[in-house]
């Protein structure tokens, strides 16, 4: 299985940085708030290491997961703490912060639509920069133990590779961290062929 060279990883970092900036702007428009972001260094990390850093055993998260359907192989994962997910829904449906207490009906739809919008912007930008159409699949929502979510997502990756490209973006809303992280998880070989 072909992995990625350092040169390719540096190139991906530049591309994902541009994709993240566009996503951040789109998120600001979508939520009608000021969104800023921080980017972690892009690196190849053993799958197990990601679980170790993803939160304690009692931690609960809301995840929006989607496979990439066309262009490259891989997935996007949006991971929010439970509290941030509720906060985020309140922002989206214009309710006072603290209103949302579960993820049913409109709350669920609002988060899934957010994942759709951000994924399209992120992957469109990424695709333009590597000269191919990159199309997201349908998002799926999980509300569960953080380690269980990561366990399932990374098991799918483990079918084809033992390391993944760790590319994390953290978003903040109006200066307050909303603990909203986006992970771009490509299948390394498919990306390697495109660069």
């Amino acid at each position: 299985m072909k992995s990625l060279t350092n040169e390719q990883i540096n190139k991906i970092e530049l591309i994902t940085s541009a994709a993240a900036k566009e996503s951040c702007l789109a998120l600001g428009k979508w939520t009608k708030s000021t969104i800023s972001m921080t980017l972690e260094k892009t690196q190849l990390v053993p799958l197990q290491k990601i679980v170790e850093s993803s939160g304690g055993p009692e931690s609960i998260s809301v995840a929006l997961y989607l496979n990439i359907d066309k262009g490259i192989s891989g997935a996007l994962l949006f991971l929010l703490s439970e509290e941030s997910a509720y906060h985020f829904v309140d922002l989206l449906i214009r309710k006072p912060i603290g209103t949302t207490q579960n993820l049913e009906g409109i709350s669920r739809s609002a988060l899934l639509e957010t994942a759709n919008i951000i994924a399209c912007v992120y992957l469109n930008t990424f695709g333009k920069m590597i000269g191919t159409d990159v199309v997201p699949g349908v998002p799926h929502l999980m509300h569960d133990l953080t380690q269980s979510i990561m366990d399932s997502v990374l098991s799918e990756q483990a079918l084809v590779q033992q390391e993944t490209l760790y590319n994390e973006i953290r978003f903040e809303s109006d200066g307050k961290s909303i603990d909203f992280a986006l992970y771009f998880l490509p299948i390394n070989e498919s990306l390697s062929q495109m660069l």
Partner: protein
């Protein structure tokens, strides 16, 4: 002492230790030695790993290499596995919304099938199982009371009997 294993790891536990792991589509295979009253657990991610380079460092990651690794750690020869050991299984959830049309991606189901196959080959009886579904699980072996507990979000803690 509370011990935790992560994806692909395996470990043993003896009185008074607690041994835990958190699962999604992965499967935990839990063994109990009737002779020593010791326990062991592997957090299995994939069905087959004999040809994978990390199966030496992380034998607990694969169904086919986890069982020999657990037996070695418990100091039990394969010839005594069927008489001394019993097994419990948990995990194997389908959390990613993968449909039956994608059998290759139904890792949970494939892990369950592989683990059961290898346990049968070793003649180890499965006494209890809590498998599948769409929710993650936190499983803990309580070696003091010789019990196993499974936690899932929104449900009360249950014993794996």
């Amino acid at each position: 002492m509370n011990k935790t294993i992560l994806m692909g790891q395996h470990d043993t536990a003896k009185n008074p230790e607690l041994l835990s792991t958190t699962l999604g589509s992965c499967v935990a295979i839990i063994l109990f030695d009737k002779e020593t009253k010791n326990w062991s657990m592997a957090h299995i991610m994939l069905p087959n790993g004999k040809d994978e380079k990390d199966s030496v460092e992380l034998p607990g990651k694969y169904a086919d290499t986890a069982l020999p690794a657990l037996l070695k750690m418990m100091n039990i020869p394969q010839s005594q596995a069927s008489t001394r050991l019993t097994a419990r299984l948990t995990g194997g959830a389908n959390m990613l919304g993968v449909t039956k049309r994608d059998p290759l991606l139904q890792i949970g189901d494939r892990n369950i099938e592989a683990v059961k196959k290898y346990l049968k080959e070793y003649g180890i009886a499965v006494l209890a199982e809590d498998l599948g579904g769409t929710k993650g699980r936190r499983v803990t072996i309580d070696t003091v009371n010789n019990k196993i507990f499974v936690n899932q979000i929104g449900e009360s803690k249950k014993e794996l009997i």
